[in-house]
Symmetry: C2
Subunit: 225 residues, 2 copies
Amino acid sequence: MTEFRPVSQAVEDYLKAIYRLEQREGKVTTTALALALHVAAPSVTAMVKRLHAMRLVRYIRYRGVVLTAAGRRMALEVIRHHRLLELYLVEALGLPWDQVHAEADRLEHVISEELEERIAERLGHPVADPHGDPIPTKAGQVKEPPGFPLSELNPGTAAVIQRVADQDPAKLRYLATLGLFPQVRVTLLEKAPFGGPMSLAVGETRCTLGGELARQILVVPVEAA
Amino acid sequence: MTEFRPVSQAVEDYLKAIYRLEQREGKVTTTALALALHVAAPSVTAMVKRLHAMRLVRYIRYRGVVLTAAGRRMALEVIRHHRLLELYLVEALGLPWDQVHAEADRLEHVISEELEERIAERLGHPVADPHGDPIPTKAGQVKEPPGFPLSELNPGTAAVIQRVADQDPAKLRYLATLGLFPQVRVTLLEKAPFGGPMSLAVGETRCTLGGELARQILVVPVEAA
DNA sequence: TTGTTTATTTAGACTAGCCTAAATATCGTT
DNA sequence: AACGATATTTAGGCTAGTCTAAATAAACAA
Ligand SMILES: [Mn+2]
Ligand SMILES: [Mn+2]
Ligand SMILES: [Mn+2]
Ligand SMILES: [Mn+2]
């Protein structure tokens, strides 16, 4: 029944990007895709036409693109691979958390369902990757975790980091030196106005963080200790 | 100095196939490559011209193809990936030994040198994969293990399996049910003439094996127990 | 509402890899 | 030494995915 056609790596990358843009921006334009995928706009136009013909998106000229149910299912499948792999590489092989994204971006397209399953099992069927991003289930369920940017936390409040939304290795390495990971508890001490730097207590130490980075760190407030 | 250009998956597969044919047959013809890679002969002609232009092989029209030093280095690099991955998938994730070949065939092209290194470390820098095939070193050294086909062993002699040269999953599953793996000790009891079936003692049990399969199992004789 | 800026698509081209059919070279035999 | 069989290459074509330059539609502002 469910007819099964294999799909190219490029197609999977487009679907993933479309999924992320739908989440973050609501609508998905040609230009946004071109930017996200580092290709020229006409390349995107050509590809979304193909995706439309494959019934993975609905595409209306000049109106952007929307995932179909089949397209969303495939996107989530690839994202599941990606996030399981990231976690596996960190947990089982000790790769640094700033490198696993790039590695997973290539591996996600080639692992079998069998291998995916073994990895999930070995990890105890985890629900989040090393950056706090939720891992879709086999059935395609995702629960985006709650949380808002650390930059909007009120001074004097404690919170637990849920997610680090940036994937730039340099930034991740820097955050690691500060001890800022998902599940870590922080207290906001002071905040300069207009997106300026903030000073934080992390465990025993304290640090200063620019507004840029603080916007990428999602937190949930907790009771003071 | 060593200029580093990335190479496509197709190129890596050709280099690997050329390497294997050089080992097994001595010379590498267009037809042999076409057969090995399941492509049409003219596709091979086109590709070996490109490989020649890239200085990965020397190609003379109608005369076949020979790996250059650079080509051999690349082939061994991919083979190293393949065999490390096969062993890792069996050891660390418990995949059945008949499935790891197909999985490794896709993964070998996308893992980073960093990940390769972690895997090798985790495995304790092994020298052979689950089928007994030698794992080239980082520097490109391979030592083909000794051994001759089980089909040529003399009746009454004991031997240790060095290598199972077949990679057909069905055959490998069958051999697994008989307990025939590398490092396993067997004794040849009887042998029918003209490549006919042979009866073996494997541990406590005995079994019968067709000449076809016996030719793919490489052994080294040992003292009787 | 008209004109300008910006986003998007069309047109046309290119590369890597693959294919089939036809031409040609090599090899093994007589 | 020549012939037929076999191996190999050439010729020509196709798809996926990319690009730049040019045309056009949509959005915004006066
Ligand atoms: Mn999957
Ligand atoms: Mn992640
Ligand atoms: Mn390598
Ligand atoms: Mn193997």
